[in-house]
Protein backbone atom coordinates (compact mmCIF):
# COMPACT_ATOMS: atom_id res chain seq x y z
CA UNK A 1 0.00 0.00 0.00
CA UNK A 2 1.49 3.32 -0.98
CA UNK A 3 0.18 5.87 1.37
CA UNK A 4 1.55 9.34 1.45
CA UNK A 5 1.67 9.36 5.18
CA UNK A 6 1.56 6.83 7.93
CA UNK A 7 0.71 9.41 10.53
CA UNK A 8 -2.04 8.45 12.84
CA UNK A 9 -4.73 11.06 13.20
CA UNK A 10 -4.73 12.78 16.55
CA UNK A 11 -8.31 11.71 17.18
CA UNK A 12 -7.55 7.99 16.95
CA UNK A 13 -8.90 6.35 20.07
CA UNK A 14 -6.76 4.21 22.31
CA UNK A 15 -7.08 0.56 21.56
CA UNK A 16 -9.32 -1.32 23.92
CA UNK A 17 -6.53 -3.57 25.05
CA UNK A 18 -4.49 -0.54 26.02
CA UNK A 19 -7.28 1.32 27.71
CA UNK A 20 -10.40 0.43 29.61
CA UNK A 21 -11.22 -3.08 28.47
CA UNK A 22 -12.79 -5.25 31.14
CA UNK A 23 -11.01 -8.44 32.09
CA UNK A 24 -13.41 -10.45 29.97
CA UNK A 25 -13.02 -8.17 26.96
CA UNK A 26 -9.29 -8.36 27.38
CA UNK A 27 -9.47 -12.14 27.45
CA UNK A 28 -11.47 -12.13 24.24
CA UNK A 29 -9.13 -9.80 22.41
CA UNK A 30 -6.07 -11.68 23.54
CA UNK A 31 -7.68 -14.93 22.49
CA UNK A 32 -8.29 -13.49 19.02
CA UNK A 33 -4.56 -13.02 18.68
CA UNK A 34 -4.03 -16.68 19.42
CA UNK A 35 -5.74 -17.77 16.25
CA UNK A 36 -3.02 -18.87 13.90
CA UNK A 37 -2.30 -21.45 11.25
CA UNK A 38 -0.88 -24.74 12.36
CA UNK A 39 2.88 -25.11 12.43
CA UNK A 40 2.62 -27.54 9.55
CA UNK A 41 0.63 -25.04 7.52
CA UNK A 42 3.15 -22.31 8.27
CA UNK A 43 5.96 -24.62 7.23
CA UNK A 44 4.22 -25.44 3.97
CA UNK A 45 3.70 -21.77 3.19
CA UNK A 46 7.31 -20.91 3.98
CA UNK A 47 8.57 -23.75 1.86
CA UNK A 48 6.36 -22.76 -1.04
CA UNK A 49 7.71 -19.24 -0.86
CA UNK A 50 11.27 -20.48 -0.53
CA UNK A 51 11.91 -18.69 2.71
CA UNK A 52 13.18 -19.89 6.03
CA UNK A 53 10.69 -19.97 8.79
CA UNK A 54 11.38 -19.34 12.39
CA UNK A 55 8.91 -21.28 14.38
CA UNK A 56 8.00 -19.75 17.66
CA UNK A 57 10.20 -17.98 20.10
CA UNK A 58 10.18 -20.50 22.87
CA UNK A 59 11.54 -23.37 20.85
CA UNK A 60 14.64 -23.80 18.81
CA UNK A 61 14.39 -21.93 15.59
CA UNK A 62 13.53 -24.30 12.81
CA UNK A 63 14.46 -23.61 9.29
CA UNK A 64 12.56 -24.78 6.30
CA UNK A 65 14.94 -25.23 3.48
CA UNK A 66 14.37 -22.97 0.59
CA UNK A 67 14.19 -24.52 -2.82
CA UNK A 68 16.23 -23.60 -5.81
CA UNK A 69 14.30 -20.44 -6.31
CA UNK A 70 17.04 -18.12 -5.19
CA UNK A 71 19.44 -19.52 -7.70
CA UNK A 72 16.84 -19.23 -10.38
CA UNK A 73 16.22 -15.62 -9.51
CA UNK A 74 19.89 -14.80 -9.45
CA UNK A 75 20.45 -16.51 -12.76
CA UNK A 76 17.59 -14.62 -14.29
CA UNK A 77 18.95 -11.34 -13.02
CA UNK A 78 22.26 -12.06 -14.59
CA UNK A 79 20.82 -12.81 -17.98
CA UNK A 80 19.11 -9.53 -18.61
CA UNK A 81 21.80 -7.43 -20.10
CA UNK A 82 19.96 -6.80 -23.32
CA UNK A 83 16.62 -5.78 -21.85
CA UNK A 84 17.32 -5.21 -18.20
CA UNK A 85 14.32 -3.05 -17.50
CA UNK A 86 11.95 -5.69 -18.72
CA UNK A 87 12.98 -7.96 -15.94
CA UNK A 88 13.51 -5.43 -13.21
CA UNK A 89 9.87 -4.79 -12.65
CA UNK A 90 8.87 -8.40 -12.75
CA UNK A 91 11.80 -10.19 -11.24
CA UNK A 92 9.85 -10.96 -8.15
CA UNK A 93 7.32 -12.83 -10.19
CA UNK A 94 9.91 -15.45 -10.84
CA UNK A 95 9.80 -16.14 -7.15
CA UNK A 96 6.12 -16.60 -7.54
CA UNK A 97 6.68 -19.04 -10.34
CA UNK A 98 8.24 -21.39 -7.88
CA UNK A 99 5.16 -21.28 -5.76
CA UNK A 100 3.01 -22.84 -8.38
CA UNK A 101 5.51 -25.61 -8.80
CA UNK A 102 5.78 -26.20 -5.13
CA UNK A 103 2.08 -26.03 -4.69
CA UNK A 104 1.52 -28.38 -7.57
CA UNK A 105 3.86 -30.76 -5.80
CA UNK A 106 1.79 -30.42 -2.70
CA UNK A 107 -1.31 -31.15 -4.68
CA UNK A 108 0.25 -34.28 -6.04
CA UNK A 109 1.01 -35.68 -2.64
CA UNK A 110 -1.55 -37.93 -1.06
CA UNK A 111 -3.48 -36.00 1.51
CA UNK A 112 -2.08 -36.18 4.98
CA UNK A 113 -4.74 -36.10 7.57
CA UNK A 114 -2.40 -35.25 10.37
CA UNK A 115 0.90 -33.76 9.39
CA UNK A 116 3.57 -33.53 12.03
CA UNK A 117 3.38 -30.42 14.11
CA UNK A 118 6.67 -29.11 12.83
CA UNK A 119 7.91 -30.70 9.71
CA UNK A 120 11.34 -29.76 8.59
CA UNK A 121 11.89 -31.17 5.16
CA UNK A 122 15.30 -32.33 4.16
CA UNK A 123 17.27 -29.54 2.57
CA UNK A 124 16.65 -29.23 -1.09
CA UNK A 125 19.42 -30.57 -3.26
CA UNK A 126 21.77 -27.85 -4.38
CA UNK A 127 20.59 -26.13 -7.49
CA UNK A 128 22.81 -25.96 -10.53
CA UNK A 129 25.20 -23.09 -10.23
CA UNK A 130 24.44 -21.80 -13.65
CA UNK A 131 21.25 -21.44 -15.58
CA UNK A 132 20.95 -23.44 -18.76
CA UNK A 133 22.46 -21.49 -21.57
CA UNK A 134 19.51 -22.05 -23.82
CA UNK A 135 16.25 -22.65 -22.06
CA UNK A 136 13.65 -24.56 -23.91
CA UNK A 137 10.60 -22.78 -25.12
CA UNK A 138 8.37 -22.34 -22.16
CA UNK A 139 6.09 -25.31 -21.86
CA UNK A 140 2.38 -24.93 -21.80
CA UNK A 141 1.84 -23.16 -18.54
CA UNK A 142 1.40 -25.61 -15.72
CA UNK A 143 -0.76 -23.15 -13.88
CA UNK A 144 -3.54 -23.69 -16.40
CA UNK A 145 -3.78 -27.31 -15.47
CA UNK A 146 -3.35 -26.63 -11.80
CA UNK A 147 -6.11 -24.06 -11.69
CA UNK A 148 -8.65 -26.66 -12.68
CA UNK A 149 -8.50 -27.75 -9.07
CA UNK A 150 -10.55 -25.59 -6.74
CA UNK A 151 -7.89 -26.17 -4.14
CA UNK A 152 -5.50 -23.90 -5.97
CA UNK A 153 -7.91 -21.45 -7.45
CA UNK A 154 -6.29 -18.86 -5.27
CA UNK A 155 -3.39 -18.89 -7.69
CA UNK A 156 -5.45 -17.71 -10.61
CA UNK A 157 -5.01 -14.03 -9.96
CA UNK A 158 -1.27 -14.20 -10.42
CA UNK A 159 -0.71 -17.33 -12.43
CA UNK A 160 -1.39 -15.54 -15.68
CA UNK A 161 1.18 -12.92 -14.80
CA UNK A 162 3.69 -15.64 -14.15
CA UNK A 163 2.98 -17.19 -17.50
CA UNK A 164 3.48 -13.85 -19.13
CA UNK A 165 6.74 -13.32 -17.35
CA UNK A 166 7.94 -16.80 -18.25
CA UNK A 167 7.27 -16.15 -21.93
CA UNK A 168 8.89 -12.77 -21.79
CA UNK A 169 11.95 -14.10 -20.01
CA UNK A 170 12.27 -16.79 -22.64
CA UNK A 171 12.06 -14.19 -25.37
CA UNK A 172 14.74 -12.10 -23.71
CA UNK A 173 16.94 -15.13 -23.24
CA UNK A 174 16.55 -16.08 -26.88
CA UNK A 175 17.46 -12.54 -27.84
CA UNK A 176 20.52 -12.63 -25.60
CA UNK A 177 21.52 -15.89 -27.25
CA UNK A 178 21.29 -14.23 -30.66
CA UNK A 179 18.37 -16.41 -31.69
CA UNK A 180 16.22 -13.76 -33.25
CA UNK A 181 13.84 -16.08 -35.06
CA UNK A 182 13.19 -18.02 -31.92
CA UNK A 183 12.67 -14.70 -30.16
CA UNK A 184 10.04 -13.76 -32.70
CA UNK A 185 8.31 -17.07 -32.27
CA UNK A 186 8.09 -16.61 -28.51
CA UNK A 187 6.95 -13.01 -28.79
CA UNK A 188 4.29 -13.99 -31.27
CA UNK A 189 3.09 -16.62 -28.89
CA UNK A 190 2.93 -14.02 -26.13
CA UNK A 191 1.06 -11.49 -28.24
CA UNK A 192 -1.39 -14.10 -29.48
CA UNK A 193 -2.08 -15.43 -26.05
CA UNK A 194 -2.21 -12.08 -24.28
CA UNK A 195 -3.58 -9.47 -26.66
CA UNK A 196 -4.03 -7.16 -23.70
CA UNK A 197 -1.11 -8.53 -21.72
CA UNK A 198 0.52 -6.56 -19.00
CA UNK A 199 3.86 -6.74 -20.74
CA UNK A 200 2.66 -6.23 -24.27
CA UNK A 201 4.78 -3.09 -24.71
CA UNK A 202 7.89 -4.95 -23.58
CA UNK A 203 7.05 -7.86 -25.86
CA UNK A 204 6.53 -5.54 -28.79
CA UNK A 205 9.82 -3.81 -28.07
CA UNK A 206 11.62 -7.13 -28.12
CA UNK A 207 9.80 -8.04 -31.30
CA UNK A 208 10.98 -4.87 -32.99
CA UNK A 209 14.57 -5.52 -32.06
CA UNK A 210 14.33 -9.11 -33.26
CA UNK A 211 12.79 -7.99 -36.54
CA UNK A 212 15.67 -5.61 -37.07
CA UNK A 213 18.13 -8.36 -36.41
CA UNK A 214 16.62 -10.74 -38.94
CA UNK A 215 16.62 -8.00 -41.56
CA UNK A 216 12.89 -7.26 -41.61
CA UNK A 217 13.64 -3.60 -41.15
CA UNK A 218 10.65 -2.14 -42.93
CA UNK A 219 8.30 -4.13 -40.79
CA UNK A 220 10.30 -3.29 -37.69
CA UNK A 221 10.27 0.45 -38.40
CA UNK A 222 6.56 0.49 -39.10
CA UNK A 223 5.95 -1.24 -35.81
CA UNK A 224 8.42 1.03 -34.08
CA UNK A 225 6.77 4.20 -35.38
CA UNK A 226 3.44 3.06 -34.09
CA UNK A 227 4.99 1.99 -30.82
CA UNK A 228 6.72 5.30 -30.28
CA UNK A 229 3.52 7.17 -31.08
CA UNK A 230 1.58 5.10 -28.59
CA UNK A 231 4.20 5.15 -25.87
CA UNK A 232 5.63 8.60 -26.33
CA UNK A 233 8.03 9.62 -23.61
CA UNK A 234 8.52 6.17 -22.16
CA UNK A 235 11.90 4.57 -21.75
CA UNK A 236 10.80 1.75 -23.97
CA UNK A 237 9.77 4.15 -26.71
CA UNK A 238 13.20 5.72 -26.61
CA UNK A 239 14.82 2.35 -26.68
CA UNK A 240 12.67 1.21 -29.58
CA UNK A 241 13.33 4.40 -31.50
CA UNK A 242 17.01 3.89 -30.95
CA UNK A 243 16.94 0.26 -32.04
CA UNK A 244 14.83 0.97 -35.13
CA UNK A 245 16.83 4.03 -36.09
CA UNK A 246 14.03 6.48 -35.43
CA UNK A 247 14.30 9.71 -33.53
CA UNK A 248 12.53 9.52 -30.26
CA UNK A 249 10.46 12.56 -29.38
Amino acid sequence: MNRPSADQPPAAPDRLLASDATDFERRMLEAALQKKPSSAASSRMAKALGVAMTIGTTTTATTVAAGATVTKVAATAGATAAWPWVTVGVLGLVVGGAVIGTRAGREARPPQSSPPAVTVPAPAPPAPATAPAKPALPPEPPARAVTSSPRVRAATATSELREQVALLDSARQAMSDGESRRTLEIVRRYLDRYPSGTFRPEATAIQIEALMKVGRETEARALAERFVAENRGSLLAKRVADVAGLTAR
Binding site: M1, N2, R3, S5, A6, Q8, P9, A11, A12, P13, R15, L16, L17, T22, F24, E25, M28, L29, E30, A32, L33, Q34, K35, K36, P37, A41, S42, R44, M45, A46, L49, G50, V51, A52, M53, A66, V70, V73, A74, A77, P84, T87, V90, L91, G92, V94, V95, V99, R103, R151, V152, R153, A154, A155, T156, A157, T158, R239, A241, D242
Partner: protein
Amino acid sequence: MAAPAERIPAPAVAEVDRTRLESIFNAHHVSVWRALRRRGLSAEAAEDATQETFVLAAEKLDAIRPESERSFLIATALRVAHTLGRKTVRWELDEDMDQRLSANRDASDKRADMQLCDLVLSKVDPDLVEVFVLYEIEGLTSPEIAELLQIPLGSVASRLRRAREQFRDAAARIEKSLQKEGNS
Protein backbone atom coordinates in the same frame (compact mmCIF):
# COMPACT_ATOMS: atom_id res chain seq x y z
CA MET B 1 18.95 21.38 -26.98
CA ALA B 2 17.69 17.97 -27.75
CA ALA B 3 19.59 15.25 -26.05
CA PRO B 4 20.13 12.20 -28.16
CA ALA B 5 18.41 9.13 -26.87
CA GLU B 6 21.46 7.00 -27.30
CA ARG B 7 21.59 5.17 -24.07
CA ILE B 8 18.73 4.29 -21.87
CA PRO B 9 19.85 4.09 -18.29
CA ALA B 10 18.77 0.75 -17.00
CA PRO B 11 17.42 0.71 -13.51
CA ALA B 12 19.72 -0.96 -11.05
CA VAL B 13 18.98 -4.64 -11.14
CA ALA B 14 17.81 -5.29 -7.66
CA GLU B 15 18.39 -8.70 -6.28
CA VAL B 16 15.23 -10.14 -4.90
CA ASP B 17 15.42 -9.34 -1.27
CA ARG B 18 14.79 -12.74 0.09
CA THR B 19 15.90 -11.76 3.54
CA ARG B 20 13.20 -9.15 3.68
CA LEU B 21 10.59 -11.47 2.27
CA GLU B 22 11.56 -13.98 4.89
CA SER B 23 11.38 -11.36 7.57
CA ILE B 24 7.94 -10.11 6.61
CA PHE B 25 6.67 -13.64 6.16
CA ASN B 26 7.72 -14.57 9.66
CA ALA B 27 6.41 -11.34 11.11
CA HIS B 28 3.06 -11.17 9.39
CA HIS B 29 1.90 -14.43 7.86
CA VAL B 30 -0.20 -15.22 10.91
CA SER B 31 -2.01 -11.88 10.68
CA VAL B 32 -2.54 -12.39 6.97
CA TRP B 33 -3.89 -15.89 7.47
CA ARG B 34 -6.13 -14.65 10.24
CA ALA B 35 -7.49 -11.86 8.08
CA LEU B 36 -8.30 -14.39 5.38
CA ARG B 37 -9.99 -16.72 7.81
CA ARG B 38 -12.13 -13.83 8.98
CA ARG B 39 -13.11 -13.28 5.39
CA GLY B 40 -14.71 -16.68 5.48
CA LEU B 41 -12.00 -18.74 3.83
CA SER B 42 -11.45 -22.26 5.04
CA ALA B 43 -8.14 -22.98 6.73
CA GLU B 44 -6.93 -24.63 3.56
CA ALA B 45 -8.05 -21.82 1.27
CA ALA B 46 -6.56 -19.29 3.68
CA GLU B 47 -3.25 -21.09 3.43
CA ASP B 48 -3.27 -20.86 -0.35
CA ALA B 49 -4.40 -17.25 -0.28
CA THR B 50 -1.69 -16.40 2.23
CA GLN B 51 0.87 -17.80 -0.17
CA GLU B 52 -0.62 -15.72 -2.96
CA THR B 53 -0.43 -12.66 -0.79
CA PHE B 54 3.27 -13.10 -0.18
CA VAL B 55 3.92 -13.87 -3.83
CA LEU B 56 2.34 -10.55 -4.67
CA ALA B 57 4.35 -8.89 -1.93
CA ALA B 58 7.54 -10.39 -3.33
CA GLU B 59 6.80 -8.67 -6.62
CA LYS B 60 6.62 -5.30 -4.93
CA LEU B 61 9.09 -5.53 -2.09
CA ASP B 62 10.89 -2.40 -3.13
CA ALA B 63 7.69 -0.40 -3.05
CA ILE B 64 6.60 -1.56 0.38
CA ARG B 65 7.71 0.76 3.11
CA PRO B 66 8.81 -1.05 6.23
CA GLU B 67 6.24 0.73 8.37
CA SER B 68 3.47 -0.26 5.96
CA GLU B 69 4.28 -3.92 5.56
CA ARG B 70 1.42 -5.26 7.59
CA SER B 71 -1.21 -2.98 6.12
CA PHE B 72 0.09 -3.72 2.62
CA LEU B 73 -0.10 -7.44 3.26
CA ILE B 74 -3.55 -7.36 4.77
CA ALA B 75 -4.83 -5.15 1.98
CA THR B 76 -3.36 -7.55 -0.53
CA ALA B 77 -4.85 -10.50 1.31
CA LEU B 78 -8.28 -8.93 1.23
CA ARG B 79 -7.94 -8.35 -2.48
CA VAL B 80 -6.90 -11.95 -2.96
CA ALA B 81 -9.93 -13.01 -0.94
CA HIS B 82 -12.07 -10.74 -3.05
CA THR B 83 -10.82 -12.35 -6.24
CA LEU B 84 -11.89 -15.65 -4.79
CA GLY B 85 -15.39 -14.31 -4.60
CA ARG B 86 -15.65 -14.73 -0.90
CA LYS B 87 -17.61 -12.35 1.20
CA THR B 88 -17.15 -11.46 4.76
CA VAL B 89 -19.17 -13.93 6.69
CA ARG B 90 -20.42 -14.00 10.16
CA TRP B 91 -19.13 -16.67 12.38
CA GLU B 92 -21.71 -19.35 12.22
CA LEU B 93 -22.18 -20.11 15.81
CA ASP B 94 -25.49 -21.06 17.20
CA GLU B 95 -27.01 -21.41 20.56
CA ASP B 96 -25.54 -24.88 20.90
CA MET B 97 -22.14 -23.31 20.72
CA ASP B 98 -22.81 -21.44 23.92
CA GLN B 99 -23.45 -24.73 25.63
CA ARG B 100 -20.37 -26.34 24.27
CA LEU B 101 -18.30 -23.33 25.16
CA SER B 102 -19.37 -23.39 28.73
CA ALA B 103 -18.53 -27.07 28.90
CA ASN B 104 -15.17 -26.50 27.25
CA ARG B 105 -14.03 -23.68 29.39
CA ASP B 106 -12.75 -25.67 32.27
CA ALA B 107 -10.98 -28.19 30.11
CA SER B 108 -9.24 -25.84 27.79
CA ASP B 109 -9.48 -22.19 28.63
CA LYS B 110 -7.40 -21.00 25.77
CA ARG B 111 -9.32 -22.77 23.09
CA ALA B 112 -12.59 -21.90 24.71
CA ASP B 113 -11.58 -18.26 24.80
CA MET B 114 -10.90 -18.31 21.08
CA GLN B 115 -14.32 -19.72 20.45
CA LEU B 116 -15.85 -17.26 22.83
CA CYS B 117 -14.14 -14.47 21.00
CA ASP B 118 -15.59 -15.70 17.73
CA LEU B 119 -18.95 -15.79 19.37
CA VAL B 120 -18.65 -12.23 20.62
CA LEU B 121 -17.44 -11.00 17.24
CA SER B 122 -20.31 -12.82 15.53
CA LYS B 123 -22.66 -10.55 17.40
CA VAL B 124 -21.11 -7.45 15.87
CA ASP B 125 -22.59 -6.16 12.64
CA PRO B 126 -20.59 -7.62 9.71
CA ASP B 127 -20.20 -4.14 8.26
CA LEU B 128 -18.51 -3.01 11.42
CA VAL B 129 -16.59 -6.00 12.61
CA GLU B 130 -13.88 -5.72 10.02
CA VAL B 131 -12.87 -2.25 11.15
CA PHE B 132 -12.96 -3.43 14.74
CA VAL B 133 -10.74 -6.43 14.07
CA LEU B 134 -8.27 -4.49 11.99
CA TYR B 135 -7.96 -1.76 14.59
CA GLU B 136 -8.30 -3.59 17.89
CA ILE B 137 -6.73 -6.90 17.05
CA GLU B 138 -4.44 -6.43 14.07
CA GLY B 139 -3.27 -3.03 15.20
CA LEU B 140 -3.69 -1.12 11.96
CA THR B 141 -4.05 2.63 12.17
CA SER B 142 -7.21 4.46 11.17
CA PRO B 143 -5.67 5.91 7.99
CA GLU B 144 -4.41 2.48 7.03
CA ILE B 145 -7.88 1.03 7.47
CA ALA B 146 -9.42 3.91 5.55
CA GLU B 147 -7.17 3.25 2.62
CA LEU B 148 -7.47 -0.48 2.87
CA LEU B 149 -11.26 -0.48 2.87
CA GLN B 150 -11.51 2.58 0.63
CA ILE B 151 -13.69 4.47 3.05
CA PRO B 152 -13.31 7.94 4.53
CA LEU B 153 -11.40 8.35 7.75
CA GLY B 154 -14.57 9.58 9.42
CA SER B 155 -16.31 6.34 8.51
CA VAL B 156 -13.52 4.38 10.12
CA ALA B 157 -14.01 6.32 13.32
CA SER B 158 -17.77 5.93 13.35
CA ARG B 159 -17.69 2.23 12.44
CA LEU B 160 -15.11 1.64 15.12
CA ARG B 161 -17.19 3.43 17.71
CA ARG B 162 -20.32 1.45 16.85
CA ALA B 163 -18.39 -1.79 16.61
CA ARG B 164 -16.93 -1.21 20.05
CA GLU B 165 -20.37 -0.63 21.50
CA GLN B 166 -21.67 -3.84 19.98
CA PHE B 167 -18.58 -5.80 20.98
CA ARG B 168 -18.78 -4.62 24.56
CA ASP B 169 -22.51 -5.28 24.76
CA ALA B 170 -22.05 -8.76 23.36
CA ALA B 171 -19.09 -9.48 25.61
CA ALA B 172 -21.06 -8.34 28.66
CA ARG B 173 -24.06 -10.48 27.73
CA ILE B 174 -21.96 -13.56 27.14
CA GLU B 175 -19.95 -13.04 30.27
CA LYS B 176 -23.14 -12.71 32.25
CA SER B 177 -24.54 -15.82 30.65
CA LEU B 178 -21.39 -17.77 31.49
CA GLN B 179 -21.52 -16.57 35.06
CA LYS B 180 -25.13 -17.63 35.32
CA GLU B 181 -24.26 -21.10 34.04
CA GLY B 182 -21.37 -21.30 36.44
CA ASN B 183 -23.66 -20.56 39.33
CA SER B 184 -26.34 -23.01 38.34
